[in-house]
């Protein structure tokens, strides 16, 4: 075999690291956006009222759940309408551990992730035989069954039945931070760790294998990828992310009940994922913001135009629907897809 000295081989420059947009190299631009984002995330909780801090915390929780769903759907090509079930499983794991076993909230986050990983992995095994719409139906069944199961009277001792379980926000151990601010930072740290983990995962050998299965499962197997294992482990990881979001969400809401985890939660996560962009990690934050704020904006908008006419309440959903259609029409591949398109269109090759 003729060995070619790759050290002397001129590897072409990657346009993703050398192209120039607005007179700035892309990696520099990326770094700047990241720094601004981190700075905002650190400053915001000190400059807004406590209800907004609560909302921002919920945004982060949704973002983690959307990220979990995106690992499964965006990167691995498996559909799920059942992620509300993993969110519920995580939330109840945290609530039951805190309420019945008096374990400090912080120690429930990891177990919630582990239990949801196992749940996701086990569900992923039979799901191997299902594809596309059929997988969507099977996961839909999971979403429908879960609230019923949580309500089931023979489990009431554990789950609290219809009443659910109350729990309290962890108290802030830092004098300068209020309880809301403290919880915000707990969720932020979890979110950043999970985000970095997801980024590392998707950029290496594992991520390539996940995407190969999405693009062409048959060829992926021929390349030596154990597609069954990758698909079920991805289901597990996805479940774990969403379960951790559930555990954090339980502390934010200070309450878990079957009706908080209906099929609609799955749909909201799906909306957040599509609006943010399939197959993009930072898009999860956009998804979280959309899920929480766009319904609120719709409400404010209707109130603005119709005053306190009670019949106008019916129009809130219409306004939201218009926002959604507009977003999907303008950015068919989500915000991340739009950014990608913009960069390809306007970035110039650098030196």
């Amino acid at each position: 075999m003729t060995s070619i000295d790759t050290k002397s081989m001129a590897i072409p420059a990657n346009p993703a690291t050398t192209s120039v947009l607005f007179g700035v190299k892309l990696p520099t631009l990326k770094l700047a956006v990241t720094i601004i984002g981190v700075a905002l995330a650190l400053i915001l909780p000190f400059s807004v009222e406590s209800f907004t801090v609560f909302q921002l915390t919920q945004v982060l929780v949704y973002a983690i759940a959307v990220l979990g769903l995106n690992l499964l759907t965006g990167f691995n090509g498996q559909f799920s309408l059942g992620h509300s079930a993993f969110y519920a499983l995580g939330a109840y794991t945290a609530a039951i551990m805190v309420d019945r076993y008096e374990i400090a909230f912080y120690w429930t986050i990891l177990p919630a992730g582990v239990i949801c990983f196992i749940g996701g992995f086990l569900f992923g095994l039979p799901a191997l035989r299902l594809e596309g719409l059929f997988l969507a139906l099977a996961t839909f069944a999971l979403a429908v069954a879960t609230p019923q199961l949580l309500r089931y009277e023979h489990f009431e001792g554990f789950t609290g039945g219809v009443q659910g379980i109350d729990l309290f926000k962890p108290e802030s151990p830092v004098g300068a931070l209020g309880d809301d601010q403290w919880l915000y930072f707990v969720v932020l740290v979890c979110g950043v760790v999970l985000l970095v983990g997801a980024r590392n995962l998707t950029q290496g050998r594992t991520g390539r294998a996940m995407m190969a299965i999405r693009d062409n499962p048959l060829a992926a197997r021929t390349m030596g990828i154990n597609t069954s294992l990758y698909k079920s482990v991805t289901f597990g990881v996805s479940g774990a992310y969403t379960g951790i979001a559930g555990a954090l969400g339980a502390a934010v809401a200070e309450f878990v009940a079957p009706d908080s985890f209906t099929f609609f939660l799955s749909v909201w996560l799906l909306v957040g994922m599509v609006i943010g962009g399939l197959g993009s990690i930072p898009a999860a934050i956009v998804g979280g913001l959309f899920i929480l704020y766009v319904p609120n904006i719709s409400e404010a908008l209707i109130a603005q135009f119709f005053g306190d006419d009670p019949s106008a309440k019916a129009l809130i959903g219409v306004a939201f629907g218009c926002f959604l259609i507009f977003a999907v029409y303008v950015m068919p591949n989500g915000l991340a897809g739009f950014v990608r398109w913009f960069v390809v269109r306007y970035a110039r090759p650098g030196v």
């Binding site: 075999m1 003729t2 070619i4 790759t6 081989m9 001129a10 590897i11 072409p12 990657n14 346009p15 993703a16 983990g197 997801a198 590392n200 995962l201 290496g204 050998r205 594992t206 991520g207 390539r208 294998a209 995407m211 190969a212 999405r214 693009d215 062409n216 048959l218 060829a219 992926a220 197997r221 021929t222 390349m223 030596g224 990828i225 154990n226 597609t227 482990v233 990881v237």
Partner: protein
């Protein structure tokens, strides 16, 4: 010393073919796709497998990649049966392939496609990737180095960062070949590599196949309709029709085989 061991390995390889297909039969319901086909592929050879449309060539390839399970018969690779090897382990044992109608990871770049070809040559997993453990970087660098070498070899340097779906058909075929080589195969299965290529591209492909065999010592099993290409590159040709072997030999022997001529041109009576 080297001379001796080279001769010794040559002697042993001529004693045992790299691939032995014995009496393989595949039925789909009542349809017989393969009806007891047998042939050997010698180490370092280019074997051309020909036959009219529907003769069972791709079915045989899919048996070799373990995508189909033969109803009877055996397939041995380097002396061992492959019929109990899991489909995703086929790349591991040294069998690489390309597909008739291309099966690339079309949303990903050429570089990523070739690196996925090296999946069986690497081992990092979910946890080590998520935590980006130190050795993951070493492995990633090694994989990238091999991939760049193949990208250079296949003359794909200018397209390395391009999404595969955005490339012309002929270029995609080269990407698929580079991806197959990234698994460092001992046996390369090429399913109609000349399909859809123009005259010049077909000529280049013939040279490339010989080059791959000579540079890298890779044995090639070629399914192809393009008769002049098969006859120009193959050391040995096997012809099948309706799931049965109808002729075998050197290219010129097979060209004169009356059964083969009949299968291709039809009978006059």
């Amino acid at each position: 010393m080297n001379q001796v061991s080279a001769n010794a390995s040559e002697a042993s390889s001529s004693a045992q073919p790299l691939l032995q297909v014995s009496d393989v039969a595949v039925h789909f319901g009542g349809i017989i796709a393969l009806d007891g086909v047998s042939f050997d592929v010698q180490q370092g050879a280019i074997l051309g497998l020909i036959g009219p449309n529907g003769a069972g060539k791709t079915t045989l390839f899919n048996c070799l990649s373990r995508l189909y399970i033969p109803n009877s018969g055996d397939i041995r690779f380097a002396g061992e049966t492959i019929l109990n090897v899991a489909p995703h382990k086929i790349a591991d044992i040294g069998i690489g392939r390309t597909f008739q109608n291309l099966a690339l990871f079309s949303t990903m770049s050429v570089l990523d496609n070739v690196m996925i070809g090296g999946h069986s040559q690497s081992s990092s997993d979910f946890l080590s990737n998520a935590l980006r453990l130190p050795w993951v970087k070493t492995e990633e660098d090694r994989l990238a180095e091999t991939s760049w070498e193949l990208i250079e070899y296949m003359d794909l340097m200018d397209e390395a960062y391009t999404r595969v779906a955005d490339l012309p058909f002929g270029t995609q075929k080269r990407v698929e070949l580079a991806r197959a080589l990234a698994s460092k195969p001992k046996l390369l299965l090429l399913d109609e590599p000349a399909g859809g290529l123009n005259h010049d591209e077909v000529e280049d492909l013939g040279d490339l196949m010989k080059q791959i065999r000579d540079d890298r010592g890779i044995t090639v099993l070629l399914v192809e309709h393009h008769m002049s290409l098969v006859m120009a590159v193959s050391d040995h040709v096997v012809a099948i029709d309706f799931g049965r072997k109808i002729g075998e030999g050197t290219p010129s022997e097979v060209q004169q085989n009356p059964e083969v001529i009949r299968a291709y041109l039809g009978t006059s009576d």
